[in-house]
């Protein structure tokens, strides 16, 4: 039984960075922009979060630094694809490789450097509940922030005017134009906000989960987040569930090894990706029905109506 609890608790801890990135990608894609550079935004977020924490001594300021770095990278994407109308796939991937190079170069000073990271804090009362307490309420503060962030993002998207405008940008941007709004401004804001969330996800990885910085430490979580958004059919609540599922897949290897099972490390490492492939194969193009219309145009490479 404790294996299950360990895996699920590990799922929450390891899945939170994916969840933040998935939420960021959801916001971006809801406005009609795919950002394949999410992995890159997580990387710069992880390094900036770590460096700022190291310099200031405060992981809270570090988390803000991570979000800011992710937003900065995403603003390049917004400039290229929203303002300059460049190809979304090319821009996103290029930014990923840019982030990989930049973080490797500037991050070398921080490899092995120790910081004052976020520490585990038990929520009084709740943390004692069997199972639930161990899984959800013996965690670091950024995880508690995510419990608020998910319903908050849902609320903003579906119950506020701002969210309605973002979704309209993703569904039918000319409806914004006729109502006197700027599509470019709304999409740019959504892409940058999405980048900030991805950067925060990266910061969670370096200053709350691994408590270390090393080169390419995100290793594919950003891409899992992009895939996750599709099978969560662009719903923040389902992104949360999906992120925990992938987090649990990631947590399976250490949990088994801790119990002395001699399972091949490499086989365990590919579990999240095999899981992704399986979900993609099962769902096929079914989720596409829920996709924002403007996003489908990007998929189908059709020119947007002017």
């Amino acid at each position: 039984m404790s294996l299950v609890v360990d895996v699920l608790a590990g799922g929450v801890r390891g899945g939170t960075s994916i969840m933040y990135a998935g939420l960021g990608e959801t916001v971006s894609e809801r406005s009609g922009v795919i950002n394949l550079g999410t992995e890159g935004a997580m990387l710069v977020g992880a390094l900036a979060g770590y460096a700022v924490t190291a310099e200031t001594g405060s992981p809270w300021i570090g988390a803000l630094g991570g979000a800011a770095a992710g937003a900065l990278l995403a603003s390049i994407h917004a400039l290229l694809v929203v303002v300059r109308k460049a190809n979304q796939f090319a821009s996103g991937l290029t930014l990923l490789f840019l982030a990989l190079g930049v973080t490797s170069f500037y991050g070398s000073d921080y490899v092995g450097k120790s910081i004052n990271p976020f520490t585990k804090w038990d929520v009084p009362g709740l943390s004692d509940i069997p199972w639930i307490g161990e899984i959800f309420f013996q965690n670091d503060p950024l995880i508690y922030v995510s419990y608020v962030a998910v319903p908050l993002i849902w609320f903003v998207l579906f119950r506020t005017r701002m969210g309605l405008l973002v979704r309209t940008a993703g569904e039918r941007s000319d409806s914004l134009t006729v109502n006197g709004y700027s599509v470019e401004r709304i999409r740019s804001a959504a892409v940058i906000a999405g980048g900030a969330l991805s950067g925060l996800g990266g910061a969670h990885l370096s200053i709350a989960y691994a408590n270390a910085w090393f080169e390419n430490m995100v290793v594919g979580r950003g891409f899992i987040a992009v895939a996750l958004v599709i099978f969560a059919s662009w719903s923040p609540l389902r992104v949360m569930g999906g992120a925990y599922l992938f987090g649990s897949a990631l947590a399976l290897a250490p949990a088994l090894q801790a119990r002395g099972y001699g399972v091949n490390q490499f086989a365990l490492d590919v579990i999240p990706f095999v899981l992704t492939l399986l979900v993609l194969a099962v769902l096929g193009k079914r989720t596409l029905a829920a996709a924002p219309d403007e996003l489908k145009r990007v998929f189908e490479n059709a020119p947007a109506k002017t």
Partner: protein, 517 residues
């Protein structure tokens, strides 16, 4: 600026109503193009005002100036007696002017509530339930049945139009402008729309309805304004004071008599194989859905068969299957007795086509008109190593003068031409060829009254020369005046086939909606 003074014509000042909208001497020139010159229009509260004119008459420029999209070069605009100058659609809306565009601008994935929230002022937070209640109240008051919580993608075009109108009313419009609202509707839906329009008129709203159909002017309009060549030809006259001939003459500039097809059997056509024969044809649409669900009918040589149906009922796929452009999943397609499965085979059997969307399907925008005329599917005339351009040129000129559609000059690039001009290039090329089968989808799309007439005459000439004609049209009057038979499609099925003596708008309309009476 114009120093023009608005002087009310005496006939209307007697009505004692201040016009909701009054436009005087609006002028807008785009370089050489005089889109509007001294255009006048006034709309009273509680009236339905038809705005009619040929393509390029300046209707849409006028509407765009009223709606704040364009700024007039000169002229004045008054709303309820006060001079205004809307600089954007938002300004126009604030003045109580609402516009329902021809291509409806609703977001299909959103609910009716969300769509209406998008254009209503309000706080940062959406209150779906409160707004739904407001929508229900407004829809009861204005006689517009709308289900507030429904997703727009599940609504019919007619329902979507009602949502658009309701949206415009809820944002405070006193004047509702409907831009060619009937062009997307089935006849029954047109009647429902007109019911709504009459109700709005009785509530004191001003309604402008843009159309080019005289029978709609007669059915709904209290007054009519006719534009031609960017000028007001008739301003705010009462339709019953004018005959159809006079109204068409005002639109076109000269008299156009009614076209009457004689429908006489074509000698020598009997006994030969059908020009087009479809037996139990099934085919999938672009999105993998089944678009044709067992189509069986044939077109005899010397017969013009019209296809009626609400847009998207399978007409496009029907044409493509007939021409071998789309593969069937089952059933047989024969052109003149030979089974065709490829465009090449269909061409060889003598098929020509006017596609639904020539810009997307036929023309290459960077090529000239002459180069398009060369690409007619026949072997190109050669001259030593190259092509015999002088021969292509002379046969193009011959085709142009034979058909009389006044095609654009041969050296012009197609990318510089308007939709109507491109349509004339395609029509001239395809209809000048010797053919046994003509598949024409919306052949008069983008054409004005005169060219529409000429195109119909050409199709009848081809019919009388023993070709089989399959003609898709959204204009029932057009089909009923020239077709020998009408095939009605609904949702990928043939819901009825009527011969000329059975033609009846009501019946065809019912069949278009699936046959339910």
């Amino acid at each position: 600026m114009s120093e023009a003074v608005l002087d009310e014509p005496p006939a209307r000042s007697a009505e004692l109503a201040v016009p909701l909208l009054s436009v005087s001497k609006f002028t807008k020139h785009f370089g050489e193009v005089k889109a509007n010159t001294d255009v006048d229009l006034d709309i009273l509260p509680g009236e339905v005002h038809a705005l009619v004119g040929e393509n390029g008459a300046g209707k849409s420029t006028l509407l765009k100036m009223i709606y704040g999209v364009y700024t007039p070069d000169s002229g004045r605009m008054l709303v309820e007696g006060a001079e205004v100058r809307p600089g954007s659609p938002a300004d126009a809306r604030a003045l109580g002017i609402g516009m329902v565009f021809q291509d409806l601008r609703l977001v299909p994935a959103f609910t009716v509530v969300e769509n209406i929230a998008l254009s209503m002022a309000g706080g940062q937070f959406l209150r779906p339930d409160a707004l739904a209640k407001q929508i229900d109240e407004a829809s009861a008051k204005h006689g517009l049945r709308v289900h507030a919580k429904a997703r727009v993608r599940h609504l019919s075009i007619g329902e979507r139009q009602r949502v658009e109108i309701l949206k415009v009313l809820m944002t405070g419009a006193r004047l509702v402008i409907l831009d060619e609202p009937t062009s997307v509707l089935a006849p029954q839906e047109v009647e429902a729309l007109f019911g709504v329009v009459r109700h709005l008129r009785d509530l004191g709203f001003g309604v402008v309805i843009v159309t080019h159909k005289i029978n709609e002017v007669r059915a709904i309009a209290d007054r009519v304004t006719v534009l031609r060549g960017g000028r007001t030809i008739l301003q705010g006259v009462i339709p019953s004071d004018y005959t159809n001939t006079e109204l068409i003459e005002a639109m076109v500039g000269r008299a156009v008599s009614d076209l009457v097809a004689d429908r006489a059997p074509v000698a020598g056509a009997a006994g030969s194989a059908p020009a087009l024969e479809l037996v139990g044809v099934r085919a999938n649409g672009d999105r993998g859905n089944e678009a044709l669900k067992g189509i069986t009918f044939s077109v005899a040589p010397g017969e013009l068969v019209g296809v009626a149906g609400v847009a998207g009922s399978g007409q496009r796929e029907l044409c493509e299957v007939a021409l071998g452009l789309r593969s069937t999943t089952s059933g047989a397609v024969r052109v003149c007795g030979t089974t065709t499965g490829s465009p090449r085979a269909a061409l060889k059997a003598g098929a020509v086509s006017v596609p639904e969307d020539p810009v997307a399907d036929t023309v290459v925008s960077r090529l000239s008109v002459l180069e398009h005329m060369a690409l007619d599917g026949r072997a190109l005339p050669r001259k030593r190593m190259g092509l015999n351009w002088s021969m292509i040129r002379s046969r193009s000129e011959k085709a142009n003068s034979a058909l009389g559609l006044k095609m654009a000059p041969l050296h012009r690039k197609v990318s510089e031409l308007s939709g109507g001009n491109i349509q004339r290039v395609v029509l001239t090329r395809e209809l000048s060829l010797d053919s046994t089968l003509v598949v024409a989808a919306y052949p008069s799309r983008g054409l004005d009254v005169l060219n529409t007439r000429r195109t119909q005459e050409i199709l009848l000439e081809k019919r009388n020369a023993s070709a089989g004609i399959l003609m898709i049209s959204e204009d029932l009057d057009e089909l009923m005046s020239i077709a020998d038979r009408i095939v009605v499609m609904h949702d990928g099925h043939v819901s009825g086939i009527l011969s000329a003596d059975e033609f009846d708008r009501q019946r065809i309309g019912e069949l278009m909606l699936g046959g339910a009476a």
